[in-house]
């Protein structure tokens, strides 16, 4: 009895892969259901749409685990025949071209990935009653396909299962690893370094797993990772055609793979170990000094030894083919660290010319620079968040708070001068006190971001008066600028403050305060008095604490839960010691003011 098998080889391979590895898609579906459908069905109907939205954007904990492991395991299983000499010999003895063998197994893997995604997507679409899970299916499948394709590439260059797993994880995350190394290095050594938004976004999207999380730029992510999938599969195919089957069983198939792995791993390991050692030994002043060098050498050696044993599975690790790329990697790490330390590109010293700046934003208004202190050092922060004010269109988010922009020549010059004092301040032997972030939008369209720590002497009371006099002088120049007084005028506050809420008066930071309801007329008078004092008092006089008024606005439960909104429910207005108008009004209206 004869059988027709001419066009059914692919079907046979796909069918048999499913027969052998059905547990992978089955477990994937189970995982999606356990982390998705079941909690949604068991949860309350009120929060159901929010839960579904979180699932559809892969922002719950469970979905990303499946997004990583299902394609990884699928890729490892369908190409597991390449990781064992017996199976490799058998499969390549069959009447199947390499193209058919490659294509059939890729198809198997993609179907194994698609099955749980599609089934889960259909179930959740019915549950949600809208198309959010259709989008989820597309994004999740594309991202999983990219992880799978890179795992297939790893199969072509690996000779055993352990190395296949390592290479699959490595190449899926190598871009993120290198980016993090450079970010860490820059953060440690470059004064004022602040990772640009674009770099952080790129970091989060530099691998398919983290790129699958979130709602934004889904079309772009799909396009990019579809291209990554196609490119990885094409490269894998090209490598497979050259892959010598007799090398199966060796940890690495091609000598260039060995060199590449050593280069990247030793480079990254030495950098991270060097930074770690330097941080422990040097504290807040990390330089390319003996502490860093010792750490780098130890890190390089550790990665080299572990990597060599993993690859060669032998104690004879000090071979030329291992030592050469490791030595190059360490030399490269020294060169890069030295260059960053020497600030060869002038990053640390750069302060934009005030004339080149279109607008500038900073969170200094929430920092120690504008905090009002009492004699014992307890302070009340300035009302810097743009959310308190009406009609503020030009804002930037810094650390989850919005800050208004400054565009006048006077305030820009004050801020650039402030930046210069922060660069020039003394650090050695000083204590960290607070931090300031500055964002410049230049007239040429570029954005410059900087982040500085503010230091005080170790024996200080950590008050504004303990700051470097030059820093205080620069802060004062900004506080006293016309634009600052306009932007932060109390007349710009949103109507719900003062007029519709309740007010609490505190005469010391630990007191319970007196709460009182205030009529709109009285609120207007109080606000007017406070505004007079704000416009009149200079920086030095304004930074001395006397008490504060806490104003609550009318809220709804939804507003309380929204991120950032909760902080805006209460506005705390410090009363300087020299605020005659404010203190006068309070006394006249029966409040015991010290």
């Amino acid at each position: 009895m004869r059988s027709q098998a001419s066009s059914s080889e692919i079907k046979t391979i796909v069918r048999d892969n499913f027969k052998k590895f059905w547990t992978v898609p089955a477990f994937g579906l189970f995982w999606f259901l356990v982390w998705g459908l079941i909690p949604v069905l068991l949860g309350s109907s009120e929060g159901m749409m929010d839960d579904l939205a979180a699932l559809a954007s892969n922002t719950n904990i469970g979905y990303p685990i499946a997004i990583l492991f299902v394609p990884l395991i699928s890729g490892m299983t369908v190409f597991s025949f390449l990781q064992n000499p017996s199976s490799a010999n058998y499969m390549h003895s069959l009447p199947l071209s390499r193209g058919k063998l490659f294509g059939a197994n890729v198809l198997s893997g993609l179907l194994m990935i698609a099955a749980p995604i599609v089934v889960n997507g259909i179930i959740m679409t019915i549950c949600a009653g809208n198309l959010m899970f259709v989008k989820w299916m597309v994004v999740t499948f594309v991202c999983c396909a990219a992880i799978f394709a890179i795992t297939v590439f790893a199969a072509m260059i690996s000779g055993n299962t352990l190395m296949h797993l390592f290479n699959a994880c490595f190449f899926n995350g190598v871009l993120a690893l290198l980016l993090m190394v450079f970010i860490d290095l820059s953060d440690a050594m470059l004064l004022g370094y602040e990772t640009p938004d674009a770099i952080m976004t790129f970091l989060l999207r530099s691998n398919a797993l983290t790129a699958s999380i979130g709602e934004s730029s889904r079309v772009l992510i799909c396009a990019v990772y579809l291209a990554v999938t196609i490119a990885a599969l094409l490269i894998a195919w090209a490598i497979y055609r050259k892959r010598p089957i007799e090398r199966t069983g060796d940890s690495v198939i091609f000598s260039w793979t060995r060199a590449l792995l050593f280069l990247i791993c030793v480079f990254s390991g030495s950098m991270l170990a060097g930074l770690f050692n330097a941080t422990i030994m040097s504290g807040n002043s990390i330089k390319f000094d003996h502490n860093m060098i010792i750490g780098m050498v130890i890190g390089a050696l550790a990665v080299f030894v572990i990597g060599s044993i993993l690859i060669d599975r032998s104690a004879r690790i000090f071979t030329k083919r291992n030592l050469l790329p490791a030595a190059i990697a360490l030399a490269l790490a020294f060169a890069v660290s030295g260059a960053v330390n020497a600030d060869v590109f002038g990053y640390c010293k750069y302060v934009p010319d005030a004339g080149d700046v279109k607008s500038v934003y900073m969170d200094a208004t929430n920092s120690v620079l504008f905090t009002v202190y009492d004699d014992e050092g307890w302070g009340s922060a300035f009302r810097g968040n743009a959310g308190y004010y009406k009609d503020v269109k030009d804002v930037r988010e810094i650390n989850d708070e919005n800050y208004p922009g400054f565009s006048s020549e006077e305030s820009i010059e004050a801020i650039t001068a402030l930046q210069q004092t922060l660069i020039d301040q003394k650090r050695e032997g000083m204590d960290y006190y607070d931090g300031v972030r500055i964002i410049y939008e230049l007239k040429n369209g570029k954005t410059v971001r900087r982040s500085y720590d503010i230091y005080v002497t170790p024996d200080s009371n950590e008050m504004a008066t303990d700051l470097d006099p030059k820093i205080r002088e620069a802060a004062a120049a900004l506080y006293d600028s016309k634009e600052f007084r306009t932007v932060y005028s109390l007349n710009n506050l949103k109507p719900e403050y003062f007029e519709k809420g309740s007010i609490q008066f505190y005469d010391d930071p630990f007191g319970e305060g007196e709460q009182f309801a205030i009529s709109n007329e009285d609120a207007k008078e109080l606000k007017a008095a406070m505004e007079k004092d704000f416009q009149k008092l200079g920086y030095d006089k304004a930074m001395q604490y006397s008490g504060e008024i806490s104003v609550s606005r009318k809220s709804t439960p939804l507003m309380e839960e929204a991120a950032g909104e909760y902080r805006l429910e209460v506005l705390e207005l410090p009363i300087p010691k020299t605020a005659k108008n404010t203190r006068g009004w309070l006394r006249e209206n029966g409040y015991s003011v010290k």
């Binding site: 059988s3 048999d16 052998k20 390549h92 003895s93 009447p95 058919k100 007799e246």
Partner: protein
């Protein structure tokens, strides 16, 4: 036919497995490939199966290049020295897999052979002994109705009854379908009984490739004793013949002579020889003498 032309293959720097190897396996013949360990037998077999790619040279089967050629590989049946099966698969499941891949899969033959070999098609292959796995691999290879059967040490480790049965299947297919067989083995005695062509390889090169009968008829072991022997009697008697090996045990000379039986007898007619025996060499002896001595002996044979 199977033709290997000037095959070169290296695994690592300086370790050459095949060095200009040439093999010619005629259609319908049973070709025995012999060689010492590390001679390159498995390498050339894997290259013929399209598993390995040669560094240089060419391998054709039926006139077509075999590497990555699906149509040619449909005609090849293969039993590896290390039979493989998918984890957890039974023999029947491996058969079903092969049925989906091989165009000429013969299910009837498959089941008949399973029964004949007394194996359990429903049992997992992992539960089979090493010998049973080899039998299973042989059954799978024969059930694809190959035109060319490639066997890499298939018989080693099988009991005599099973070996006989296996050879019977092979010979029957050679006789009925003109199947061509290439078999490598260390069991030279057995190969001698079934092969009609022999190729002896050493260090990746072909040393001898000959019809087995021709090979055996060209070389004889001569046991001779001379009456009234002088010191140079043997040398004089054999001076016109090619002597590959000579030793004396008591008064009897044992010589391996590359010469026809008639010539030997004719030459020794003039001597009084109370002992004169001409014995054909076994394949094992030919193998030993071809590969165990220095290069002069090998050159002498060729």
């Amino acid at each position: 036919m199977i033709r290997v032309q000037n095959a070169d293959k290296s695994y690592e720097k300086g370790a050459k497995a095949l060095d200009g190897l040439c093999i010619n396996v005629e259609r319908g013949s049973i070709y025995g490939l012999v060689g010492t360990n590390g001679a390159g037998k498995t390498t050339v077999i894997k290259s013929i199966m399209g598993i390995l790619k040669l560094d240089a040279g060419e391998i054709t089967v039926g006139g077509e290049s075999v590497y990555d050629n699906e149509l040619v590989k449909q005609k090849l049946g293969y039993v590896s020295d290390d039979p493989f099966a998918f984890r957890g698969y039974t023999l029947n499941e491996m058969g079903a897999y092969n049925a989906g891949i091989f165009e000429y899969w013969n299910e009837e033959r498959f089941q008949t052979m399973i029964s004949d070999y007394n194996l359990n098609g429903k049992a997992k292959l992992s539960s089979f002994s090493k010998g049973m796995r080899k039998q299973a691999a042989f059954i799978l290879a024969m059930s694809v109705m190959p035109e060319y059967l490639i066997l890499d040490e298939p018989i080693d480790g099988l009991d005599p009854l099973v070996r006989r049965k296996t050879w019977k299947y092979i010979i029957d297919d050679v006789a009925e379908r003109e199947m061509t067989v290439l078999v490598s083995s260390h069991n030279l005695r057995e190969m001698e009984g079934y092969c009609d062509h022999i190729g002896i390889i050493s260090e990746g090169r072909m040393v001898i490739e000959r019809d087995l009968e021709d090979l055996k008829s060209d070389v004889h072991k001569v046991q001779v004793a001379f009456r009234d022997e002088a010191d140079d009697t043997f040398a004089k008697a054999f001076e016109s013949m090619k002597v590959m090996h000579h030793e004396k045990r008591g008064s009897v000379h044992i010589a391996i002579v590359r010469e026809s039986a008639e010539k030997i007898q004719q030459t020794l007619q003039g001597y009084e020889t109370p002992v004169l025996d001409l014995l054909p060499l076994t394949l094992e002896e030919i193998f030993v003498y071809e590969l165990g001595g220095d290069s002069h002996e090998i050159t002498g044979i060729i």
